[in-house]
Amino acid sequence: MKKKIQNIIKNFGLPRIIIFLFLVLLFILTPFVGIRFDTSINDVIVRFGMNGILVLSLVPMIKSGCGLNFGLQLGIIAGLLGAVISIEMETIGFAGFFTAVGIAIFFAVVFGFLYGLLLNKVKGDEMVVATYVGFSSVSFMCIMWLMLPFKSPNMIWAYGGSGLRTTISNQGYWFHILTNFLQIKIGSYITFPTGTILFFVLLTFLVWAFFRTKMGTAMTAVGSNPEYAKSCGINVDKMRVISVILSTVITAIGIIVYQESFGFIQLYMAPLYMAFPAIAALLLGGASVGKASIKNVIIGAFLFQGILTMTPSVINNIIRSDMSESIRIVVSNGMIVYALTRIMRVR
């Protein structure tokens, strides 16, 4: 019995169990601090739909051995470009959403290809290089948002007449286009965002299916043993580039879904630290630097968003302070440090 429990702990990981129990505790506490249980559940589901795809986007790169994608911001920039251009083109509704996605995919393929080539040049140091590639591209795009010739009055600064605003509303274009699709209302407090969740499930399924194709298997082989993959006649560098493109494309789609649900497109320095919560969520789900699965994505996104939604409301109500933001920083970054210091099992 004792051994069985030890085994479960080992398989599931101690930090994960602690966080899971903590989350359960938070849910139990909700009625006592005057928060509705069903609203909390609803918030967690909505945020899960918003962020799930961003977490999913990390998987291909981990599988091909490129490590955690600290350069996630490149994909986000592609997504932002898609979103902004779709609004400039005045496309509305589903057409607008898919225009944004289409344009974003185009940019993501270009960025991902170049990013992949770079990561092949710096094998072994991918993560630290990626971090700063991400940061520098975000700050480069700050210059671009100011300079690019966008004209739509809904997006540019009202007084100056040039340069995009820091936050742009997508209301009237494709706001809640997925969220409202086949929406289910349960009682007056839960509105299930069917469209967003379905979209997430669809992408997850595609990624899952991809890793069962010949190319997907080859990619996994590259990640787990590059030398072996090479001797099997797999082009290692090419596989890595494809995985990076895939990751970047999914990120680009993910950020558009995020904006669709959130209602705003955040430009300038907003994407700077967006890689960390996604990475922390995946690690929380049980992934490591060298290993990740769809299961990790779903568990991780749920746990992480659960903690994120529940701590502010519950903790702040109990101790009457706003400590949750600091706790969030400690938990999410601590999770990443913990993962980086563990000896990699697979690779």
Binding site: S139, F140, C142, R328, L340
Partner: protein, 383 residues
């Protein structure tokens, strides 16, 4: 085949120099264009550079020892900066002013910095080969802990008597603390003015002392050991050096120096953003050092000073140049953030790329010599 050609090209000393010093060269060109564009006067310019030289050099010098130990750029100097800030909060609370206040702040924060450095060292030892990204994430993590301590612990668990530095709610430190009482005490300790430009003699003396210390330290037994560890972990282990301990020690020294560096930095500025002052310390110090021609594996004292001058020239000039060129100062702001991050990305990528090529070369050489032995054996046998 293409790759082989580019490899032989790097052997050419001219090209080798260009690749080694790509970052400083690009920077010199950039600055050479931006200075005339900005239209700043020479006097203003020299004054600014003098201020920034005295303000930032100490922090950047703190980076040198971990590079010696082969741990790359120590993004964890942010931890030292936090320790320094905690010292400054206490002396402001106790209203100890002037130079004694500053020295006391250093004294208080030393044990904190040692502790944090020790912790960072242990963490980095568990992440060998990934020190930089781990150090970077560790800085973010500790920032959360710092917030918990300073924003929620101080005035609550840790007694703070001076209510003027507390938030109105009664606990937690305010966002900005005025360090007016210790403002520029070190800079103006030995007053000297040349042509209207204040020369912070005492400050420069402290920096010079640190340089001498580093040069001396390299030659001590410990310094030698750190360098051996930096060159080859296995060789160090065979020669009886405790690699793990030596690496921890180098991080502790770096953290403590960074703590002093941050105190010197803030006494020059005169105000402290309790929750932001330390955030960018690592990025700016590392970018400056890399601009000075250092790499992840090699950094020396001249790199520090060349780096400070070049990097901060760009800092002074770029908002003005942006305004003159496009009419938006904001553009220059973004530009310098971009350059700071870009420099680090570029240098790290260049270094990692070269490391890989060298490794491949070595492997090829080993293969070739092996083949040579085989051929010779066959030849001998045939004879």
């Amino acid at each position: 085949m293409m790759k082989k050609q580019s490899l032989t090209k790097t052997m050419n000393p001219g090209v080798h120099f260009l690749i080694n010093y790509a970052v400083p060269i690009i920077f010199i060109i950039l600055v050479a264009f931006a200075i005339p564009l900005s239209g700043l006067s020479g006097e203003y310019f020299i004054r600014e550079i003098m201020i920034r030289l005295s303000r930032n050099s100490f922090l950047i010098l703190a980076l040198l020892i971990p590079v010696m130990a082969g741990m790359g750029m120590n993004f964890g100097i942010v931890l030292g900066a936090m320790a320094g800030e905690i010292g400054l909060i206490f002396i402001t609370d106790w209203r100890i002013i002037g130079l004694p206040g500053m020295l006391l702040a250093m004294l208080i924060s030393t044990p904190i910095a040692v502790l944090l450095g020790y912790f960072a060292g242990i963490v980095l030892n568990r992440a060998k080969g990934r020190e930089m990204v781990t150090g970077f994430m560790l800085a973010f993590f500790m920032n959360g802990i710092y917030q918990l301590v300073v924003l929620y612990g101080m005035g609550n668990i840790i007694p703070i008597s001076n209510s003027s530095i507390l938030l109105p709610r009664g606990y937690g430190i305010r966002n900005a603390i005025s360090l007016l009482e210790i403002r520029q005490v070190l800079d103006k300790l030995i007053p000297l003015e040349i042509g209207g430009i204040l020369i912070p003699v005492a400050n420069l003396l402290v920096i010079a002392t640190l340089c001498v210390f580093i040069i001396w330290f390299r030659k001590t037994k410990l310094g030698q050991e750190i360098r051996t560890v930096g060159q080859d972990n296995d060789v160090a282990r065979v020669s009886g050096i405790n690699v793990g301990k030596t690496r921890i020690l180098s991080i502790v020294i770096s953290t403590v120096l960074a703590c002093y560096g941050q105190i010197i930095f803030l006494q020059n500025i005169g105000t402290m953003n309790t929750y932001n002052s330390h955030e960018q310390v690592g990025v700016f110090a590392i970018a400056a050092l890399l601009v000075g021609g250092a790499s992840v594996a090699k950094a020396n004292i001249p790199n520090v000073f060349i780096g400070v001058i070049l990097f901060h020239t760009m800092f002074v000039v770029s908002p003005r140049a942006g305004k003159e060129l496009i009419g938006q100062a904001q553009l220059g702001e973004y530009f310098r953030v971009f350059v700071s991050y870009g420099v680090i990305a570029f240098s790290l990528a260049l270094y990692a790329w070269r490391k890989r090529i060298e490794k491949e070369n070595e492997r090829k050489k080993a293969m070739a010599s092996k083949r040579g032995i085989l051929v010779k054996q066959q030849y001998d046998r045939r004879k």
